[in-house]
Symmetry: C2
Subunit: 338 residues, 2 copies
Amino acid sequence: MAAGTKRRVRMSDVAQVAGVSLATVSRALRFPESVSQELRGRIETAAQRLGYAPNRIAGSLAGAHSPLIGVIVPSLTNAFFATTLERMTVTLEAEGFQLLIGHHGYDLAREARIVSAFAGWNPAAIVVTGLDHSRETVAALSAADCPVVEMWDLDGHPLDALVGFSNTEAGRFAGRHMARAGYDRIAVVCSTPDKDPRAAARARGVLEAHAEATGGRGKAALISVDGRELGCGALGLDKALTEVPDLRAIAFSGDMLAVGALFEADRRGIRVPEDLALVGYGDLDIASNTNPPLTTVRPPRGEIGTAVAEHILKRLKDPDRSGEIVTLNVEMVVRDSG
Amino acid sequence: MAAGTKRRVRMSDVAQVAGVSLATVSRALRFPESVSQELRGRIETAAQRLGYAPNRIAGSLAGAHSPLIGVIVPSLTNAFFATTLERMTVTLEAEGFQLLIGHHGYDLAREARIVSAFAGWNPAAIVVTGLDHSRETVAALSAADCPVVEMWDLDGHPLDALVGFSNTEAGRFAGRHMARAGYDRIAVVCSTPDKDPRAAARARGVLEAHAEATGGRGKAALISVDGRELGCGALGLDKALTEVPDLRAIAFSGDMLAVGALFEADRRGIRVPEDLALVGYGDLDIASNTNPPLTTVRPPRGEIGTAVAEHILKRLKDPDRSGEIVTLNVEMVVRDSG
DNA sequence: AATTTTTCTGAAAACGCTTTCAAAGTTGGA
DNA sequence: TCCAACTTTGAAAGCGTTTTCAGAAAAATT
């Protein structure tokens, strides 16, 4: 436990025991096929017996890139990104990569600092969330000199590769659904649209599609709240109710907001959906469990993780794939709340 | 973007521009005080102008340890660990450390593999969740030859340092509370007690304290469910109701289970707490928002992250602190559900 | 049997920093 | 003025791999 106790087994130790050179051990371990059957056996046995574990730091210095992949998300406590990260980890870990995870809380300046820090690790790739970045981030990303993948968005111009879905379209699904269900006076409750461009895009989508689908006869109000938590949903409901007369339905930029509003409606004796319809976004586990279960839009949160990981894997083998765009789809999940 | 475009600025470039040696640049950057005022200025200007960013890989190879800290949690999608990770990241990032995050889904064999993988990065410290580890994990941890911190538990014997709270005690809070509130026939719904030793410890705590506080007159049943999600809570409610006659209260190993049960109770027309009291664990954001709000036990989830980070920081400066134990407290949050 | 290919293997040069050790330069006291 | 003590700087030796290049051995060809 205490540092400096015993000397770690090095590749040269394995080489000595196996009676071969360092170079051969390296090859045998990295490209087993490139070494004769017999040596491979001897080397693997020696490595096993000595309990050799390669020093990744040394390997990364000698190689062109490290098997590190930097991933930057807005937040770790957000179930969306957590799912994406989990899936990415699983796929990439299996190929010997290790994730370097950073989060910036929707602060673009912090994003830039994290990218710079990651670049110092000479990563095999860097993944960032969204398409909105500061000049500094873009500069740091290009200085990192490795594949860059943007994810979770599709509404904009990527720097390099892109894996995501259209948040505008996600909003449009909800807006269209509400119009078709006959709700012509609606509100959209959106959390920090100034800081979260994807939430803002969804809100815009709802508004647009609702206007189109009602032939302009519908009325819709945009209401912003200062957070993504349940409490803000309750607050949003309150605001919407006071600001919009004859309100029939509310779309939210996230399921937690919608659930918070659902609870608040219950407290106020407002029946959902009879008096007021509620539509969320996210299809979190809770959405299917509330009373009534929540109508929502499901983003491909796990799929993004897998797709990003797979893209990176393919890309590292075949650099021609730079600039690839992977489009994933959103799904309208109609339940009873609206 | 494409690999191999331009040469990265090296420390030797800075040295050349500043007209000093490599060694001096290294010193100036790492220990500004150890270099004369004038040189420091020249070197910093040069570094700035060239846009020098240190190569962490090279630095780590030359130094004794890398500024990487490995952290292993059961799951990233679990709000408890996500909060801990967020706090750890913030504190450690400020000191120039970078987290290597791994998750094993309560699978001890995977934990061992992750520890081994982390050890290859020569990390400054490794943090693992809980006190239950396989022989292989313990071996890999000791081979890593760096400080080890176990977190989130206190019921057992640590390998080295420990930052956590007693899950048994957390359970005891709930059990005692239920007994005092006059609920003598209770059930404990616990998710995968065979795989999650902390959940099992909490369940045990509830049972013990309830038996003590009711003077043995109380009856309590342990019911296990196969997951931590809302749906399992509903299932747990159902099982408890059929298995325990005259059931008055249920304690859950997690808030999501409790909320799921609350929803299910609502569907069945069971009044909470009049017909049945519900107690959770976790004090997730949702706990204070449900109808009725959930009585629960609050673990120090953010505090653990901060405390672990601070411990590591102190420890790296002062190796004598090995074996330190930081005890944090749990809090009973009484609301309306039980 | 003598060559030419092809397959394996090892020596040695990076990779970009940290750190030790000694030399050079400064300061202050005798 | 000279020497001791201290401060500041630079040369060079790693850190543990990967990878290139060339030589040795084995296989295939004439």
